[in-house]
Amino acid sequence: MINDKNSRKIADIIQDFSRKHSLFMLAYGTGCGAIEIPPTTTSRYDAERFGIRGMATPRQADVLLITGYLATKTLKRVIRAYEQMQDPKYVIGFGSCTINGGMYWDSYNTVKILSDYIPVDVYINGCMPRPEAVITGFIELQNLIKEGKANGAEQYKENLEWYRENQRKVIKNWKMPDYNW
């Protein structure tokens, strides 16, 4: 994928069109914001008309939704799930707990800024965001894909050392497979 806008070939444009109109999200709720995912995908605020469906495993999914706070125990498992997804992958952070700690700013067990540990493409504001806000977030992600700017996965590969250092500072018992793709 090429980053600057001047040299986007036709193949990239077609690929991006297909990627942005069929986002598969991992149907897993990490925090208390997961309660906003079912209303978004059912009949009233339909998210399937944008091509968004829920898939069951990280191997089949494109988008990882981090909905709400992340305890350090969950962070280890989320990192494993993120590394099992295939390129190109995107991460959306819901709620104010991913932005600056939110309601749990003085808790000993949650992480405060999410993009120190996992590259995040889009943040959605709110505690919890309403389904209309969630769909607006997805459309924002679609616009970023169209312009070619949604490359959190490549940032992760390039700055792997920095991310790993941050992760190890918080997760003390590190027994994880190496990231080799």
């Binding site: 125990k73 600056n100 067990n109 800024i113």
Partner: protein, 193 residues
């Protein structure tokens, strides 16, 4: 008239005070009775309440940290569906080398509550069988619910906040300023300054 309604509760207090020594009881309100005993008598009081008095349900076990008196207080909350009265059984435990017998054999759900208290407060239960880690993973510091564990210091050591948002300020002070009241002393310790 109120005496007639609180008859069950007062009978309960008298019965418990007569049966066990050094036991002081109090009727808090209708349907709630609170009893304090020593920690060695806890298993006998609880099994007596369960088998003879009909308090067959352990709703919860909880713990309070009295740092001024240098003691922990463990509270057992029992419920009797026949009389519909809630019974609080309270004990005091020393803060250094805290230990007490476990009551796993009387109610099975006490296993979970005791493991949580052991992890969060550091009280040892004699004979408790269960994995050491319960909710927190790889935790090496002091048990975090004790009052001398400084959460703000811990967060400042291990996590960072986003730059450029220091002007978000202290919400509590803002509210106080707009409503014109004073912050009490015990709440001042938890401000963001």
């Amino acid at each position: 008239m109120t005496d007639k309604i609180l008859e069950k509760e007062q009978q309960l207090v008298q019965l418990l005070e007569q049966t066990f020594k050094n036991c002081t009881g109090k009727v808090v309100r209708e349907r709630r009775v609170s009893v304090s005993v020593e920690k060695e008598l806890i298993p006998s009081v609880l099994s007596y309440a369960k088998s003879q008095l009909g308090y067959i349900h352990l709703s919860h076990m909880s713990c309070v940290d009295w740092i001024e008196k240098n003691k922990f207080e463990i509270i057992y909350i029992l419920w009797s569906p026949a009389d519909k009265v809630q019974l609080f059984v309270k004990t005091m435990v020393n803060r250094e080398n805290a230990e007490i017998d476990n009551i796993d054999m009387i109610w099975k759900q006490a296993n979970t509550y005791e493991r949580e208290i052991r992890e969060m407060y550091g009280i040892q239960f004699n004979g408790l069988v269960g994995a050491q880690e319960f909710i927190l993973e790889d935790w090496e510091d002091m048990p975090p619910m004790r009052r001398d564990f400084d959460t703000i210091e811990f967060v400042d050591d291990n996590f960072t906040f986003r730059k450029g948002r220091e002007d978000a300020g202290n919400v509590r002070e803002e509210i106080i300023k707009r409503s014109g009241e004073e912050i009490p002393d015990f709440a001042k310790k938890y401000s963001r300054d």
